[in-house]
């Protein structure tokens, strides 16, 4: 392999991580939410002694088990993929990043593993209360797992609580609480789990609606639907609240991502929020085309949401790339200069130290510290590299938010019709419910698109771009594993869907 890093190696590595992450994320949200729905149903069973609730619990648990297995299968890859395909990243930030992953294993994985066996197989082996406890602990375990991995991801978006150690040539943790309790992390965790609960609720409602459409198990279906709808309305409302919180964090800490989310090229004060927009197709950063073909905005809303101040200046892609001295925004080129200075300073620091030249070493160290803030920019070749894929991020964001609001409205509809009317007669609503299942999955993936595509080219915001983060491999190796995963995961997905739909058809066991 020649000495210059092959860009296609980076692209294939990114593609592989995106593929494996998206496949994993296909299954995780349902697990996170349905475990709580099941726990709630089982609590009602234990409290009332009603066999109908036991039956309901066991049915949803069967579906959960099918989903959980493939969630595990797609998850193990990710744990090791940081090492296999992103080894330079693992070295550069592993001192901070490794800890949440290890804690996830110790604290969360073992909790779910230990009690899931009881949950599935212990119905006749342990008492009712112990079994119920096992179900709740499994639910808590899965969610704690989400907590730690999201703490890790949040740290990528907004690195905090660390410093760069030039002697060990890596970032090192300074303050664990800053990492764990970072507002970005907490907001991200809450938004992610509550959106997962929303998906799980829609899934339960959709499957229940199918039973109603087939005129089967009506009592079971209506009750499950009601449980899920209440769980869903609480979750989706809080999802919206935390979504706002997340966007606020993004505005503060990842302004380029926000600009891409809004398709905002020219920054402005009193910025309007695009409620409905169509981007000019094929628009490139440096052509002079209008960014939007259609742009319906609520005035002042963007500034308000981003900075809690209608008059606040919201930087656009142009401001962040070419700089805006008035607003104190440096140009990307300036940052790249500083980054290159920092990288060169690190090199001369290490060489001077080795040679025993203390004076030169100290000089280099000072230069490194002065410029470290933009260290990652030194690896970029072109200021335009700092711009994420605008249309992908923009549309994903719209889809996610639009669907999010639809889900809130949808839950209210279900709650109303189950309680006030006879929901079994509202076949239009039942069909809508079934149709809403794929919508939930689309919204769920769209959210991650925003989060991860929006942060490109950064694997650690401003500190390390993806080009510097990969493992030293042949592009062909990554291509091979990419396609291996495509084949394997797609096959497993097909198998899972077939098994799942059959179990649904079989329905609750007598």
């Amino acid at each position: 392999m020649n000495d210059v890093l092959d860009l296609s190696l980076v692209d294939w590595s990114r593609a592989q991580f995106a593929l494996t992450a998206m496949y994993h994320w296909f299954f995780v949200p349902l697990t996170l939410g349905i475990t709580f729905i099941i726990a709630i149903m089982e609590t009602i069973y234990v409290k009332t002694g009603s066999e109908a609730w036991k039956k309901a619990t066991r049915f949803w648990m069967t579906l959960f088990a099918i989903n959980f297995a493939i969630g595990v299968a797609t998850g193990i890859i990710l744990e090791f993929e940081f090492g296999t395909n992103w080894s330079n990243y693992s070295w550069f930030v592993g001192d901070i990043f490794g800890a949440p992953l290890a804690i996830e294993g110790i604290m969360a994985f073992f909790l779910e593993t230990a009690f899931i066996a009881i949950m599935f197989f212990g119905w006749d082996k342990v008492g009712k209360k112990f079994h119920l406890t096992a179900t709740w602990l499994t639910a808590i375990g899965t969610n704690l797992s989400a907590l730690w991995i999201l703490v890790a991801n949040a740290w990528m978006q907004h690195p905090a609580g660390m410093y760069f150690n030039p002697d060990t040539t890596r970032n090192e943790m300074l303050n664990f609480w800053e990492v764990f309790l970072s507002p970005v992390a907490i907001n991200k965790f809450l938004h992610t789990v509550f959106s997962s609960y929303t998906l799980a609720a829609i899934f339960v409602i959709g499957v229940s609606a199918w039973f109603i459409l087939k005129k089967r198990n009506l009592a079971f279906a209506k009750k499950s639907m009601l449980v899920a709808a209440i769980f869903g309305i609480i979750s989706s409302l809080y999802m919206a609240v935390t979504g706002d919180g997340s966007a606020y964090e993004v505005a503060q800490k990842q302004p380029m991502k926000l600009a891409a989310m809004e398709g905002l090229y020219e920054g402005r004060s009193n910025g309007g929020l695009t409620v409905f927009g169509i981007l000019t197709p094929g628009k490139q950063y440096d052509d002079n085309k209008e960014p939007f073909v259609v742009n319906l905005q609520i005035p002042n809303m963007l500034s308000l949401l981003s900075y809690r101040d209608a008059k606040a200046f919201v930087p656009g892609i142009k401001d962040l790339t070419e700089g805006n001295p008035e607003q104190g925004i440096p140009a990307t080129r300036e940052k790249m200069e500083q980054g290159k200075t920092a990288i060169a300073a690190l090199k001369s620091y290490k060489l001077s130290k080795e040679a025993g030249d203390t004076a030169a070493a100290n000089e280099s160290l000072a230069a490194l510290q002065d410029n470290f803030k933009y260290f990652g920019y030194g690896y970029l070749n072109d200021p335009k590299d700092n711009i994420p894929h605008v249309s992908l991020v923009f549309y994903s964001f719209r889809i996610m938010v639009l669907l999010g609001f639809y889900f809130i409205f949808f839950f209210l509809l279900i709650i109303y019709f189950v309680q006030v009317k006879d929901v079994a007669r509202q076949r239009w609503l039942m069909r809508l419910a079934v149709f809403s299942i794929p919508l939930a999955y689309i919204a769920s993936q769209a959210g991650w698109m925003v989060a991860e595509m929006g942060r490109q080219p950064w694997v650690i915001q401003d500190i390390m771009p993806t080009v510097a983060a990969v493992s030293h491999l042949d592009t062909s190796s990554v291509q091979i594993t990419f396609w291996l995963f495509v084949i394997l995961f797609t096959s497993l997905l097909i198998a899972e869907i077939k098994i799942m739909t059959r179990q649904i058809k079989i329905g609750p066991k007598e």
Binding site: V4, T74, T84, E104, S471, A495
Partner: protein, 387 residues
């Protein structure tokens, strides 16, 4: 105690934890071993069902231990994680794929509308059993035999090619299988896993047919295991090892290094001997005693395995030894002092590790709740969540 002493203590602590997790993983790979024996020990569908379900209650524990082992290794020795996983790419990908297919196999094997058919999933279990054990064993053997890689942190300052660690062979890890010493450990783990599985089945399942077949196959697997294990250990004791000069931190080859380690660390020697004695005693009980004690072999061989593997891994990293040696460039070799996380991270993780006894306690509690009674044929018929 000054900062450096604390740091060294923490590094040693974490090497012990990583080694302990590794040794527990090897013990729990009785699941993998058992997966290769389903058709050997079970001749009727119901017998096979009992065997599958006996494993099915435990497979996740092994899986989770593997994942936690990886996570803990990453958190405490990130340079190992990045060098080994990013370098020996194909070995780790193969191991991962072998475990990915296991994760769905139990749940999907006998479900209706089974797109791939139960035979596919049984093949998955077989693949996981064979590849999982042999590859992990082969990978761990490279702790003693070395691999071809180089680490140079200054590479980070070259934007054109900033990756600090490079694997220096084109096979990216697969070449380990060509070294007979590595393969021997791989095969040792394979036969050990099967041996432990048989002992586990003898204890966990109440069925005369399975029991008598188990005794027979215990001979067929325990003997190769013992022979291979002895071969590996003797070879290891006679090998050159990768020693580190504590003053200059230079890595050099030393004759009989691992043997010297064993003698210099009497605690490890005792652990090792205790482990071997327990393993052999457990085997003796189950091979030669037909009374109820004959079914308890796992209680001795299991812990014995943990002690023996633990001591071998301690031999790899303690007493100024490079636990991940590079045969390409000796000075790129990884030691517990040059590849660990910062003192802050190790200390933070140390505090987290204090919950581990609590974790072990509830795992034990849950395990006992499920295994109060052994698996029987009748249970298979009545349990509708049975795999």
């Amino acid at each position: 105690m000054n900062g450096t002493d604390t740091y060294l203590l923490l590094q040693q602590y974490w090497w012990v934890i990583v080694s302990l997790l590794g040794s527990i993983l090897v013990f729990l790979m009785f699941v993998q071993g058992g997966q290769t024996l389903i058709y050997t020990l079970g001749k009727t569908t119901n017998e096979q069902k009992m065997l599958v379900n006996s494993l099915g209650r435990k497979w996740e524990l092994t899986f989770t231990t593997l994942v936690t082992f990886g996570g803990a290794f990453f958190a405490s020795f990130p340079l190992f994680y990045s060098t080994s996983f990013g370098g020996a790419y194909w070995v780790w990908i193969a191991i991962l794929l072998a475990f990915v297919v296991q994760a769905v196999a139990y749940e999907y094997r006998t479900k209706p509308n089974n797109f791939f058919g139960s035979k596919t999933y049984e093949a998955f279990l077989l693949i996981n059993g064979i590849l999982g054990t042999i590859l992990i064993g082969t990978a761990v053997a490279t702790f003693f035999t070395g691999s071809e890689f180089s680490v140079d942190k200054i590479r980070l300052t070259n934007p054109g090619s900033p990756v600090i660690s490079r694997w220096e062979g084109p096979a990216h890890g697969l070449e380990a299988a060509l070294n007979p010493q590595n393969l021997i450990l791989g095969l040792t783990i394979f036969f050990l896993a099967r041996t432990l599985a048989i002992l586990y089945f003898m204890n966990n399942i109440k069925d005369d047919q399975i029991l008598s077949r188990s005794r027979k196959h215990l001979w067929y697997n325990a003997m190769p295991f013992v022979v291979l294990f002895l071969t590996f250990v003797i070879w290891l004791m006679l090998s050159k090892g990768f020693a580190v000069d504590p003053v200059t931190n230079q890595v050099f080859l030393e004759d009989y290094k691992y043997f010297h380690n064993l003698l210099s660390m009497p605690v490890v020697l005792i652990l090792f001997l205790a482990g071997v004695v327990l393993v052999l005693t457990g085997l003796y009980l189950s091979l030669l005693r037909s009374n109820k004690h004959g079914r308890k072999g796992i209680w001795l061989t299991g812990p014995g395995t943990i002690l023996a593997v633990l001591s071998l891994l301690l031999l790899a990293g303690f007493n100024h030894t490079a636990y991940y040696p590079s045969t390409y460039d000796l000075q790129s070799s990884l030691t517990i002092t040059n590849s660990s996380s910062s003192i802050y991270t190790l200390r933070t993780m140390f505090i987290v590790s204090l919950i581990v006894p609590f974790v072990a306690a509830y795992i034990w509690y849950a395990w006992r709740a499920m295994d109060k009674k052994p698996i029987t044929g009748a249970e298979m018929e009545n349990d509708h969540h049975a795999y």
